[in-house]
């Protein structure tokens, strides 16, 4: 997504999000784009709880949010053409749980690109990055050909 302003990226990533059924159903939205760093917001909801006794969100919901944030950060990487590459792996450390009722934010960026592999990292937190609840690293395989299906969807929708 070379040469796009933060605002243009914000708009493109928001419309991309509408095509991703699960994260759209969870109400995940773009919070902020600052250069290579992307922040998404997951609103707290009762149906996303993992421990009904405490109301704490399911660990898997944090996995979904981080997978999405790291993946879209890879997609929006400045040095590359937009393409969806398969995820190779995702690793998450669950450092603490957020208080029930709090929205969760996740910020991610690409920290290394090679010809074949993208390395990404990110954190999930509530209110501020000081309240980090999880830390993730993920690797994506770069495909030879650019997958224009996604950007094509965006253009068709806006046309």
């Amino acid at each position: 997504m070379k040469r796009l302003s933060d605002q243009e990226k914000h708009r493109l990533i928001s419309s991309l999000g509408e095509h991703i059924a699960h994260t759209h159903a969870l109400g995940i939205t773009v919070e902020k784009v600052e250069g290579e760093a992307l922040t998404l917001r997951l609103p707290y909801a009762e149906n996303l709880v993992g421990d009904p006794a405490t109301g704490v969100l399911h660990g898997g919901v944090i996995t979904v949010l981080l997978d999405q944030t790291l993946g879209v950060a890879a997609l929006a990487c400045d040095s590359l053409a937009p393409s969806i590459a398969p995820t190779l792996d995702l690793r998450i450390d669950h450092l603490r749980v957020a208080p029930p009722g709090k929205d969760i934010l996740a910020t991610a960026s690409v920290y290394r690109t090679t010809r074949r592999v993208l390395f990404t990292q990110g954190i999930a937190y509530w209110d501020s990055p000081d309240n980090t609840i999880a830390r993730a690293t993920g690797t994506w395989l770069r495909l030879d050909e650019v997958d224009t299906t996604w950007t094509g969807n965006i253009e068709r929708k806006e046309a």
Partner: protein, 147 residues
């Protein structure tokens, strides 16, 4: 009846579905479970709201991770004499193949269970158990005193 009450009963396919219904996100995903001898087979039926890639109609990678984490949690509870809800410490997920919009299955293996930590290996597949779509490894804190 609370989840804590329900998990005190030995897992049958019936109690497992009661467990799963009590966990809101597991119920939302539509996770099912079946006791097979000493083992538990976890099942994620296809549903459009689980998709993450509209172009190839693949299930969201994060959903596969959530399904596998939930499978590991209930696999561990099923083995406990005094059941407590395990707390996830870390989770490492390898995506091997795309999961398309059809049934996904998961089975767990407890690699090591110490006094306070369990290491669980989880395998997910669609058509052939010998051709997994994802594998994962997770550590859980299970000591009630430490949680």
């Amino acid at each position: 009846m609370s989840l804590a009450d329900i998990i005190r009963h030995a897992p049958s396919s019936e109690t497992l579905s009661l467990w799963l219904e009590k966990v809101p996100y597991a119920a939302y995903l539509g996770i099912e479970a079946r006791v097979e001898g000493d083992d538990i087979l976890f099942i994620l039926p296809p549903d459009d709201k689980l998709l993450g890639n509209p172009a190839i109609r693949a299930i969201h990678g994060g959903v596969i991770g959530a399904f596998m984490e939930q499978a590991a949690v209930f696999h561990l509870i099923a083995r406990m004499e005094t059941p407590v809800l395990p707390k996830i410490i870390d989770f490492s997920l390898d995506y091997l193949r795309a999961n398309f919009a059809r049934h996904t299955y998961a089975r767990c293996h407890v690699t090591r269970q110490g006094r306070s930590v369990a290491n669980v290996h989880i395998t997910a597949w669609q058509d052939d158990e010998q051709q997994p779509t994802a594998t994962a490894r997770a550590h859980f804190l299970i000591d009630e005193a430490l949680t």
